[in-house]
Symmetry: C2
Subunit: 192 residues, 2 copies
């Protein structure tokens, strides 16, 4: 899909675009609700000293770019799932993980953007499959010890989580996120 360009100039450009995008987003992220719309790809291209066509060749969609920026952070979140599971019972681990994802997503809004893109259905599975897998691990653990329903589709849960990114942190979003996560977890609980 994105088999890393082989030519030097191409690679340079790619890196330059990523660096510029990182700056631009960091600069603009102080304001507003954190939805991606704020940054102009045109501006990034110009600032990076490449043509707009070049930017689009490297990153065919805005999401592809954001996604690449936050690949690291996303991986971190994914890796947290088994760690939490090792330290806590499944139900607690699940809830903690949700909290981390929600919190992280609102902080570094890029992660939210990625998940948003992923849940839009059009995104490359390659990227968000690990995310789904992380959820699945948590769900399976909960099912195994009887605290969660069994047979839940992890993608359904990811979709439910995607609501979080639409909260406005400025106005009660923090508290609302907590309440909604509670509701979601309750929905996943095994019914005795």
């Amino acid at each position: 899909m994105n088999p890393k360009p082989t030519r030097r100039d191409a690679l340079d450009n790619r890196e330059r675009i990523l660096a510029t995008a990182r700056e631009a987003i960091a600069a603009s992220s102080g304001a507003s609700n954190g939805v991606s719309s704020g940054v102009s790809l045109t501006a990034i291209a110009k600032q990076a000293g490449v043509g707009i066509g070049t930017l689009y060749r490297h990153f065919p969609t805005r999401e592809a770019l954001i996604l690449e920026l936050y690949r690291h952070d996303i991986q971190h979140l994914i890796d947290r799932a088994p760690v939490l599971l090792a330290d806590h019972p499944p139900l607690v681990a699940l809830r903690r993980w949700f909290d981390e994802v929600a919190h992280y997503g609102r902080l570094k809004y890029g992660v939210a953007e990625v998940i948003h893109a992923a849940t839009d259905g059009g995104a490359d599975d390659e990227y968000f499959a690990p995310f789904v897998a992380a959820i699945d691990v948590l769900l399976k653990a909960g099912a195994a010890d009887g605290s969660l329903k069994s047979g839940i589709d992890p993608e359904d849960v990811l979709l439910q989580l995607s609501v979080l990114w639409r909260l406005d942190p400025a106005r009660g979003g923090e508290a609302r996120a907590g309440r909604i996560l509670d509701l979601i977890v309750d929905g996943l609980r095994a019914t005795p």
Copy 2:
């Protein structure tokens, strides 16, 4: 907010825009996932024989236009809540209502669009407050007979519902919607 224009020409234009928009959306709604993006406001204005400025004066955002188109249908949904409550126990009424909203929303995608806009936070409360009120009635009834938790914020629930509009009906969306609604309802249930 939108105190209906008093001049004849203004009113005519308004109606013409609405009629044209209705056609345009009907014509394009056959395809794709049903997200609003498909229709160009520029095209609607041209087709309606008004300047783009006129369209924007009457309907400051795309959502405002869509919302006006489906005001009727939305009202219908809202009215269904008490009817269902009269005929069924609260839990059943709630679930039925969810089903109707979900189904309707995916059929006439405008409703989805409106709710989507409403949950975006920026929307005029005036419009979606009745929706929230309808949910609240259902929740209160369930709380009263002990089948649902008490003290749930209806806006939280609306937000959870908003996930439904992002499902792709073409690929498993129908079934997925059902599963997710089950999860949501379970989350709202009173914990014994």
